[in-house]
Symmetry: C2
Subunit: 519 residues, 2 copies
């Protein structure tokens, strides 16, 4: 979920040099106008409609969809709008794919590992897969369309912590200190005349005014600490007890909080984010209900895909399914292993993206000590430990119980945890979290469940990374015979449900156009 993926979104355009002040106003105003332009992903998408066939005199087709994750479910849902006869083949026992919310009574099996029985209290849930939605993503449109209530997911909390180099501070404190010192440094450099070539007199004045505000600088443009750092006792009848003085510039830079305090700067994770009320699987469930459960065959592992002149033939553990078209939505590294007649370049392309490990643990506590004692309501603590993040729940505030995400890590850290037994994962997560929260992190723990996505059968990865978005990527965005591909892995929104949905829409659009134009 890096801000730039695979290096494809390259830096844009004209290098605007410092101090090149021509045409002031006009360009910025144009940006403003553009900032107002609709930004929804779906503006260009027209769903198939029953009426499309009425007009063309053609009939809808039969489509077999391999995989009932978010991409497969979305494709079936969209095709269903025009009356396509869709069947979904899902190898797992439950549709939804990585859209997985665990609750009491669920059992989570694992490849080469023990199954875990989920023992949470009533109403407690753990989004083991995706957990947050950006407001510009098409995912919210599906929530609206399917009538799924949403609520805020807090991705940035000034009261949460930053833990780096063995030290823990509140995010607000880390931010105030870093901003304070960089404002002071830039103000000093400006006043020393170091930037006179780059700045007009007006620029200098505007800049200093901004820096004073940005860093909460004192009258001499020094950073001397700030109320923004927080208080050991907040103001009330008196002015409160402020945090002690900040460290020196050297100490603040050495603390290494930079990554943590810029974590939500990108367009994918900017504040605010959202989640369905009651669990992310409301989306998978909503799509299933709209599609009809009878169209989904679970426990059906696909063993062969054959494209023919007049249709497709998909063999699976329950038999053979013939249809007019196929949409294959499995992870590419799994699709690549299924025998097919789509050609060697397709196999090569499907083998190109690299699966990435990702893991999460849900820690259920009998007391919401993070609210009661730390005054942290939702949000994320960023760490340089192998747990990477701790997520505090953005819902059911003040309830008796609550569930933290005790780690959400990827790649090597995820592989490390994934290789442990569930008990050892929990033990390690608690040891790490204790470095931030102290002994209470181990107390009042009621139960836990951990997932290692690379060990989930028929999924085997958190997501994939393309070495580059090259011809393999574009090859799979087009059909191979009568077989279409879809999944977050075929988009620039990898690891997001929005990617799976956009990709499904893309495949549906192509397929529907073909059906409407077929002789």
């Amino acid at each position: 979920m890096a801000e730039t993926k695979g290096g494809v979104l390259t830096r844009r355009g004209l290098l605007v040099g410092i101090g090149a002040a021509g045409g002031a106003g006009a360009m910025y105003a144009a940006m403003g106008a553009l900032g107002l332009a609709p930004t929804g992903q779906d503006k260009e998408y027209t769903p198939p409609r029953q009426g499309d066939f009425t007009l063309s005199g053609r009939a809808s087709a039969k489509v077999v969809i391999i995989g009932a994750g978010v991409a497969g479910l979305t494709a079936a849902y969209e095709l269903g709008k025009a009356g396509y006869d869709c069947t979904l083949l899902e190898a797992r026992q439950k549709p939804g794919g990585r859209n997985l919310t665990l609750r009491a009574g669920d059992r989570l099996a694992e490849l080469n590992g023990p199954a875990q029985d989920v023992k949470f209290g009533t109403g407690v849930y753990f989004n083991a897969g995706p957990g947050r939605i950006a407001q510009w993503m098409v995912t919210l449109d599906y929530c609206r369309e399917l009538g799924i209530p949403i609520e805020t997911f807090i991705n940035n909390n000034a009261s949460a912590y930053v833990h780096t180099n063995g030290q823990t501070v509140r995010a607000r404190t880390a931010r105030a200190d870093m901003y304070g010192y960089i404002a002071e440094l830039l103000a000093k450099a400006t006043n020393l005349g170091a930037l006179d070539k780059a700045l007009t007199k007006d620029d200098r004045e505007s800049l200093l005014e901004f820096l004073r505000r940005f860093g909460d600088l004192g009258p001499k443009l020094d950073y001397e600490g700030s109320e923004r750092r927080g208080f050991t006792r907040f103001p009330a009848l008196d002015g409160g007890v402020p945090m002690p003085d900040p460290g020196t510039l050297h100490q603040v830079l050495a603390a290494g909080t930079g990554r943590a305090i810029t974590n939500d700067f990108g367009y994918e994770q900017a504040t605010p984010m959202f989640q369905p009320v009651g669990g992310m699987d409301a989306i998978a469930t909503g799509l299933q209900q709209a599609i009809g459960q009878d169209r989904i065959k679970t426990g059906a592992r696909v063993t062969g895909i054959t494209t023919l002149d007049d249709g497709v033939e998909v063999t699976h553990t329950g038999g053979i399914l013939k249809a007019d078209y196929c949409i294959a939505t499995l992870p590419p590294h799994l699709l690549a292993k299924i025998p097919h007649n789509l050609g060697a370049p397709i196999t090569a392309a499907l083998s190109t993206p690299v699966p990435i490990a990702a893991g999460k643990i849900g820690l259920e506590y009998g007391r919401r000590w993070w609210e009661l004692e730390d005054r942290v309501y939702g949000g994320v603590t960023e760490t340089d430990l192998d747990i990477t993040h701790i997520w505090y729940p953005s819902h059911d505030y003040h309830a008796e119980r609550g569930l933290l995400v005790g780690y959400y890590n990827t790649e090597r850290a995820a592989e490390l945890y994934g290789a442990l037994t569930p008990e050892d994962r929990r033990r390690r997560a608690l040891t790490q979290g204790k470095k931030i929260h102290g002994e209470k992190y181990r107390q009042n723990l009621l139960s836990s469940v951990s997932i290692a996505w690379e060990r989930q059968e028929h999924i085997q990865g958190g997501w994939v990374r393309w070495p580059s978005f090259d011809s393999s990527f574009t090859l799979l965005q087009r059909p191979a015979g009568r077989v279409y591909f879809a999944g977050d892995w075929l988009t620039h929104l990898i690891a997001w449900q929005a990617g799976a949905m956009e990709s499904a829409r893309g495949a549906v659009t192509q397929l529907h156009r073909r059906v409407l134009q077929s002789p």
Copy 2:
């Protein structure tokens, strides 16, 4: 709600010079440890308990509380825990004071102006007074204690707008440009050697690494735009269509977005904030229910306060009330006008704080166009117009109707709007909002209600400002005879419900201690 109020919270301590690198680590680690300290306001507060009297052999007392706003209600609620016999005298027809949520069927009267009938649809509400709660505030403790569900109030939204100097950009764009350029400038100054006295070699490297991340700088440490600015079409099947190139440094500085993009930097408005589900008046209602409606006399305007050796006598429009003690919670400028025998210094002190005008308008729309078209889910657009802010609702996402706060302004801007008729306020608010949102801002408007707090009878101000927190302030924090004072105006949390609550707790603590120690 400025970050520093009345100049009392002065800058702290030791001036840590740039480059003074002694004792690295230790101080920062100490800060870390302190960052973990409990920060709740209520740690030092012990509520009165029934058992207190059992132990001391004394009995609770009779208390008359003047004003049933948040301070008065909190005082009665806390005293009630020990069985005090409280009566609240409220001049208005409804308790709650500025904790006012308007819904269909409500009628809002105004001094020297026409009454407004509220015609919102079912479920639509307008928090005409306080609208947000910081997570460290005692207000959340009352929500927990009273069983009032809370949800996130979005105070900062990267997709909301900044409108300054006639130009509108998304907050994410304004922020990316300003951060990008200041990072570039500081990187340049660093590399020019301008800060060599302030920075060790290690510091320089750490700083440049941070600046690269903070400003999303290119390989040459130039700011050339960034995906953080947003897209006219976000990435999906392709990399999306990024916003056009940023303006020059000069243009970005001249745009004057600095105030807007630092609006949530302070401890009072840092992300995230919270609100009761269904309207802020859940707090007033919850307190009333806990106190008992029979203890609250509405329409009872106080006309005299007399402290006596053995009690107090409060005259009001409904008669005379005798009690052992009194807690006076009216706004100070109104209290100052009530005849009393508390002495001239009390009148002088009560006359010291200056009432501040504050206004809000609720605009109810039949379509949530800000979600559908602008993809803005909650949050605030900051402007340099006289409307100051536009608030988008942080609840009931995807509902049919929705209510924006079309202005929330103070002082001169509030007085300007307050002097208009409700129709003219709406017209002006729509004309201003149209500058940001275009014609749709005037379309689909169903109804509106505006409040001018300086024109609300028995309140007559949004809040007050103390010229300085001097001896008048501390004088009123102590009782005058048997009369105690309470209100947000007697705290460093002016204009926050938390101030009213903390002040009430302070008065209750003093009063209860006195009762327990009385002969």
